[in-house]
Symmetry: C2
Subunit: 311 residues, 2 copies
């Protein structure tokens, strides 16, 4: 008797990798999950610990990989904020359904107590926008074949979803689920990285090239996406008691190896990743009547696995 | 001093409609919110109470509008299940991050106790798939101008996102955020509506034409999207204690008018809805550096308002 259920999500969560195959009956071509199980060791990469943020919430640890090749000044400034423990004791200040979860200093908004704003220490208060960068032919590039509504080209580079415009010679990270952006005021240079947001709904691609994207949540996304929605304007919480406190944010490189997560991310320029994209474009297991034949950029999650053996 | 924040979501939540305008400074063209405030009374419709499900969870009430012009047999069967109180005492059985929240009978899966499966009463156990329907020129149709990756045409009809293929003469509801689909086993006719799911992440458009869509959550989406994610395969909960119980599901038509929600949905064939789409395609307020010039089907929420005066 089959499970009365939907098929597995197109997304592959790390938590699914080690699960029993109860739902995988009667398929005719390899699924993403099967392909992933056969990936070669060298197709996985271990992110640089100087690019990994561990945000500790009461519910668990959120791991964010920074994207210094796309937003280097923001990566540097966020590292400075983290190393000076800027985020410790701050909070999740906003959760707007089908949009974003945002964190930072609760006093740094219109209803906050300006006298209590936490100083940025040696971090900069303003940064050049870094909304786009010149296309770098030296960076790996895995294009998607099905086009995109918002950009001339889309694909993946170094583990991130990216859009490109050969006409202008620019490329930029895109606002897919789980991507982490830099909140700002109206002036484009007003973002410092002291308030960040993660996309928790349909990709708000209209934000692309209007905000800097600092990285991607690679583990613990559920601790940001399943939070109670704020009932104030734009999903801000109206009472301090509703906010989830941030216990700490640390750079993986700054904590003892034994306390680090042992995460690996599938290389987006690997044959297995290409095969997974193809499998997702054309789902041919028994459940599907009509394969879509296509996949959009933000419907492809980049696989992450947690190795059992810690350092 | 401006709020350090992101702009409002492209989506317009009912909860935003009555909020102060603190964040709306320095804009140069009307925003969706401003347009909506000026909508004429006749641009709003009051859904037929025979098409409205009230699912009462401990956290609050979820309101779902059925789509009988697209999936009439499923609407009928779901009404039968609801009127015989089939869902009362069942549960949210699955929450998979960035995919779906699913509810139904916990015993009706591989790990359940088959002897305890709740009977369907006079409802049918199988239904014709109703994945697509013949395009009906009599139904209202508001096409979107920017195309779509998955279908030749997309737009809105009767308050729902719809895709069309003039080549085959078929149209179908699409898997956008908040849409409610019918879970099934492998056989296409194996869905009855006794297990339903709501999309809580990036639109899984690859499911279009592979599952019947019964309707859309028009209020209380946060009670489905902010639930703890299941840790079992495909996001199923592994322990009964993790499931959110369904207190009851009722048809609005079957409860006293004084106990009904007083909801109105903006007509998707109204001038204001068209103006909102245009405003979202080109955000010209001061926050935006680069208007996208485009909008994808699933990035447009259909506005809903709750009137203060109940019946």
């Amino acid at each position: 008797m089959l499970l009365r259920q939907l098929p597995a999500a197109l997304a592959i969560a790390a938590s699914l990798l080690a699960l029993p195959a109860a739902a995988d009956t009667a398929k005719s071509t390899p699924t993403a999950k099967e392909l992933l199980a056969k990936a070669k060791p060298e197709e996985w990469r271990t992110p640089d610990p100087t690019n990994l943020l561990y945000m500790q919430l009461p519910q668990g640890r959120v791991v964010i990989e920074l994207a210094p090749d796309f937003t280097p000044l923001h990566a540097d400034n966020i590292r400075t904020l983290v190393r000076e423990h800027y985020f410790d004791g701050l909070a999740i200040i906003r959760v707007q359904d089908n949009f974003v979860t945002q964190w930072g200093d609760p006093n740094d908004d219109d209803s906050g107590d300006k006298s209590k704003i936490k100083p940025l220490g040696s971090a900069k208060a303003k940064l050049p926008p870094e909304y786009t960068r010149a296309i770098d032919p030296k960076l790996p590039w895995t294009p998607l074949p099905d086009g995109d509504m918002y950009a001339p080209q889309v694909g993946f580079s170094e583990g991130f979803p990216v859009a490109r415009d050969p006409g202008t010679g620019r490329e930029w990270l895109t606002h897919c689920y789980g991507m982490v952006g830099v909140a700002r005021d109206i002036p484009p240079d007003s973002g410092s990285g002291n308030s960040l947001y993660a996309v928790i709904g349909q990709a708000p691609r209209g934000l692309d090239r209007n905000l800097a994207i600092a990285g991607r949540v690679i583990q613990g996304m559920q601790y940001l996406s399943a939070l109670p929605r704020g009932t104030g304007a734009l999903g801000f919480y109206t009472q301090a008691s509703q906010r989830t406190p941030i216990i700490s944010v640390r750079l993986a490189a700054d904590i003892p190896p034994a306390e680090r997560e042992n995460l690996q991310v599938l290389r987006t320029d690997s044959p297995t990743f290409a095969a997974i994209i193809e499998a997702k474009r054309n789902r041919r297991d028994a459940f599907y009547t009509v394969p879509a034949g296509k996949i959009d950029l933000c419907s492809i999650d980049i696989p992450v696995r947690a190795l059992d053996v810690k350092h």
